[in-house]
Structure formats: structure tokens, C-alpha cells
């Protein structure tokens, strides 16, 4: 989603100010002038300065504009129409779902859900999606759990090996 420079610049000013304030409240090391506070305060000040300059539109002349993309997108983004940009946030949402569900559902089921939703949202056909959902979780489980010994949760459905 494209925001104006004013919005991102002001966000950086706010973040910088918070970093400066948060840094200044850190306890000092007794007998030292320089402590854990110095560095975040410097960065905070720098962010406030940069954010201010960006909000004012300084430095824009250096930017290379990307050509806009106009082609139709299949899957979720196409269906959402004007709200299509929301589809971009599905992958991180699926990651959070993985974190929440993996322990109780187990790796295989959670992975299948992630693959199913993501593939359909990208416009994969049902045949392809089902094949991916059936094979993918087992393949990844085999590689990570069996070969690399990563303790993936069993949950409701344990792997057959």
C-alpha cells in the first residue's frame, strides 16, 4: 500500500521521538557518562531529523519511480477488487496462524491449512491446490523433522514415521 511521504516521514518522526524518550529513561551506568541511553537517543534524534526532511519532500529528486502495474491479478487480490491490497497481508497472517495453531493442531494439519489458503489466494486451481496440500506438509516434515531433527509439534495428527 502506497503512503505519501508526509505520512511515512511523520511516522518516523514519532518513532524517533519515542526512541529518544525511551532511551533517555534507561538507567545510567554509575560513574560513566556513556551508557545504554546514548545510542538509542542518537538514533532517535537522527530519525526525527530524517523523518522531518522526508515529510518536507527533500531528497525526492533522487528517487526512481517504478512503473505502475495495471494487469489483472488472479486469486484473492482480484476478487477483492479495489481492496486488493489487503491480500498482501494474508502471508503474515498465515504465519501468525501457524504460531497459534501449530502446538494444538500439529505441524501436518497447520501446514496443510497454510498451503491451502495461500495457494488458493494466489489463484491456483483446485487440482493443484489439493495435490500441494496433500504432499507439501509431508515433504517439509520429512526434510526438517527427520533429516534436520527440528522438533515439529505432532498435535492431532502425528507423522507416520
Amino acid at each position: 500500500m502506497h503512503l505519501s511521504d508526509r505520512v511515512t516521514g511523520l511516522f518516523l518522526v514519532l518513532l524517533g521521538a519515542l526512541a529518544f524518550w525511551g532511551g533517555s529513561r534507561l538507567p545510567a551506568v554509575p560513574g560513566q557518562d556513556i551508557g545504554p541511553a546514548s545510542f538509542p537517543m542518537m538514533i532517535g534524534a537522527g530519525l526525527v531529523l530524517c523523518g522531518g526532511l522526508i515529510a518536507l519532500g527533500i531528497g525526492r529528486s533522487f528517487e526512481v519511480e517504478d512503473p505502475p502495474e495495471a494487469t489483472a491479478v488472479p486469486g484473492l487480490a482480484g476478487r477483492l477488487g479495489r481492496m486488493g491490497w489487503l491480500a498482501a497481508f494474508l502471508p503474515p497472517a498465515l504465519l501468525i496462524f501457524y504460531v497459534v495453531a501449530a502446538e494444538s493442531l500439529g505441524f501436518l494439519l497447520t501446514a496443510a491449512v497454510v498451503l491451502l489458503v495461500c495457494a488458493r489466494a494466489l489463484g491456483a486451481s483446485w487440482r493443484l491446490t489439493i495435490a500441494l496440500t496433500l504432499i507439501g506438509p509431508f515433504g517439509v516434515h520429512l526434510a526438517f523433522s527427520e533429516l534436520l531433527r527440528v522438533p515439529l509439534p505432532d498435535g492431532l495428527l502425528a507423522a507416520p514415521w
Partner: protein
Amino acid sequence: MSAVFDAFSMVASFEVLVAILISAVYGMVIGALPGLTATMAIALLVPVTFYLSPIAAVATIITSSAMAIFSGDIPGCLMRIPGTPASAAYTDESYALTRKGQAELALGASLWFSALGGIAGTVALMILAPALAEMALSFSTFEYFWLSFLGLMCATLVARSSPIKAIAAALLGLLVACVGIENPGGVPRFTFGLTDLLGGIEPLPALVGVFAVSEIMRAMINAPPPPIPERKLGSILGGQWALTRRYPKQMWRGNIIGVLIGALPGAGADMAAWVAYATSKRFSKEPEKFGTGHPEGLVESGAANNSALAGGWVPALLFGIPGDTITAIAIGVLYMKGLNPGPTLFTEKASSMYALYIVFLLANVLMIPLGILMIRVSKQVLRAPRSVAMPLILLLCAVGAFAIGNNPFAIVLVAVFGVIGFMMERNGYPVAALVLGIVMGTMVEQNFVTSLIKSDGDLLPFFERPVSSVLATMTIAALLWPAIVWLLRRLRPAEAAR
């Protein structure tokens, strides 16, 4: 001499050779798929390196990055979609050659000059690194502070965006690095009471988020690449010797530009390719032919992006400062495997260093037969639907991040950094600068604070030692450079309009 023999026996082990072969195929495939970058390939590889011996682990990174940078040229040439950003500079040129019916010449040039560039870059690494190591032994915290600061500034200079946004991105990275208790006071800083944040934010989940998840997010809202047209390919290496004879100067210039830009912190293969392509056009006897399917620029920039890979390892091995985003990941693996970067690496672990050089050479030689194979099967590989590849990568991001420390919180970090990377990219903030800030934050702070404590709060010693004064001048020049360019543009509006 015995160190060289040791190195050969290290590389000749079954494990290392198999690791090289598998990672070569992996790198080739990932690089060829549009939207999957070399950096992403390396980030997803890290959990696997945990289970390998040190040399095998680093060998997988070296090999797969070299292969990915080459194979990114394939879809660029055949479909006009660069497989990795490093191929973007000359995609139009090689596609123009394909349209003229000379796809094999363009692909062959990519392959041949990539391999030669990689070898030239390795030789430069072998010569430069020990020479610089000698110098680096006398560095104190003042020099290290300026060096890491200069690295951050370089990343902002070469970004193809507003320098202020690049500096802001680097500062954001430094702020991320502030999180945790690893600071001069040992107090929890910006942890918001979360125990998971006490240890700080590991660079790896951040990298996976910024480079892989944000790419999947982009795929969600962009149309997939069009199907690849049917085309028969002739002999791939056929015309390459003639090209080498015809453009030796361009090839060498490309190699040198690649090594230099690669060695600059933060600037990697993609920047090297852009600069080399521009240089080639600037100094060409027939600049009007550029863009119409003329191999000259292809020779120079194809050589540059692969030699940049080796160049990126120079500051990484010597100072622990990443030369590009790939070595930013590699440094973490080096530490994990007990090959801590630093000048002493060349004296204490000499045989390991030689082994790395051998791996570099081996990877670039292996690139030619594997590359030919890849070009031949590219039609089948490129037909792999994006809607299958991307979900699998998302799953690998989750499992890979979890595998780093068996901690689900890493997956949350991956998601958060995916969103951050996506938003930054959309709004013109370079993510490479952010990554460099995260990787180098602790180093910058430590050297800054230690230096200030040594000098009792006095800033003068930062400029007193000869090397540090030179580095300080360069850093300040880099910081002021955008302002100078801006002023020059104001003074010469005619020049800017051109």
C-alpha cells in the same frame, strides 16, 4: 604449504562435495524463478547449515549464491523478467537479443562471463584479503567504529532511492539492533517486558521476513509472469570465445567494478550490474547499439554481478562487516561455525580460508556444465506455477525460522519483518540499508561506546589516528555527498535536465 593441502582434503570430503552439488542445483532453480532472489535462497538455507560441518555450511552459501546470480539471467533473457534483482540492469538488452533470435548467444554470454567474473572475483579476494588483514591487525575501536559507520553510509549512497530515506532505513535497522540486554549497561532495552526480546532481535528472522515474506506479499497483489514462449536453443558456448576476444577490456572492467562494489558494504551484485552496464555504455565505441540486443553491456555487467559476490566476502571475512545482503547472512553462519570474522582468521584458520577459496573456484567452474543443463531445462523449470512455489516458501519461512532456535517467537518476528519490508519497499525505503543496520548495530554501538569511554567522552581521538582520520573523512564525505549532488544539480540545471 601444508595449509593448502589441508584445505584440499577439507573440500574433497564427501559431505562438502555433496553439499556443493545439491546447493548448486538449489541455487540454480531458485535464481531462475522470478520473484525468488539469491538472498532469499540463502536465508532459507541457513537452518540447513546448522547440521553441516563449517566448510560444508559456508560452501552451500557460496555455491548457491553464485548459481542463483547467474540463473537469474535466464528468465530475464527468455521472458524479460529478471529472476533476481542482479539481472535487472541488462534484462532489456538480453531480451532484445532473444527477439533477434540470438537467445543462445545472450544466455551463453551470461553463463560464460558470470563464471569468469566469479573466478576473477575469487582471485581478487585471495589477493586483497590477506593484504588488508595485515592492516586490519592494527585497527582499534576508533577505526572499527568509522569503518562500520562508513559501511552504513555506503549502503545509503548506492541505493536507488532518496538518500534521506536510505539513511532513515539504516537508522531503523540500528534501532532494531538496540533491542535486548546486550548493551553497555546490560539493562533490558526496548523489550516491553517480553522475555523473548531480552536476547535481542536475531538478524536471521528479520532477513527471512524482509526478503522472503515481503516477496510473497508482493506476489499476492501482482500478476504472475506470462508463460514462456517455445524456442529451440542452439549451441550455448559456441560464440563465447569470439566475444571474449572481442571485448576483453569490457570483461576486465566489469570484473574490477564488481569486486570494488561488492567490497563496499551494503552494495552487492545488483548495484554492480547497474554500474557496470552504465560504464559499459558510457565508454563504448557504439553506445547507440545499447538496448537493441548488443552483447557488449552484457559482457561487462554479467561479469560484474558475479565478481561482486566474491568481493562482498572481503569486508565480511576481515571485519565482520557484510559487503552485501548475502554476506550479511553468511557472517551469522561464520560465527555459528567458529570461523569468527577478523584478521586473525587468516593466520589461525588459514586452511579453512584456503578451503573457502577452493570452494569459490569450484563453484564457478561447476557453474558452466550445470548452467548449460539449467538453460536446457529452463522451459520446464519456469513453467512451475508461482501459486505452488510461493505457498511452499511461506511454509519454509515458518519452519526455517522455528528451526533457528526452536522458538515460535521467531516466526512472529518473520511475519512482522515481512510487513515492515513490504511497507518500506512500497514507499521507496531501501530494505538493504535496514538489514545492514540490523546486522551492524551492535558493532557500531560497541565500538562507539568503547571508544568514547577510552577517550573519556572526548571526540578528538576519533580523528587523531591516521587511519581513523582517513575513514572519518570518507564517512563525512559520504554523508554530505547527496547534499553536494543536490547543490550541483541546482547550479547546473541544464545538466540535470539531460
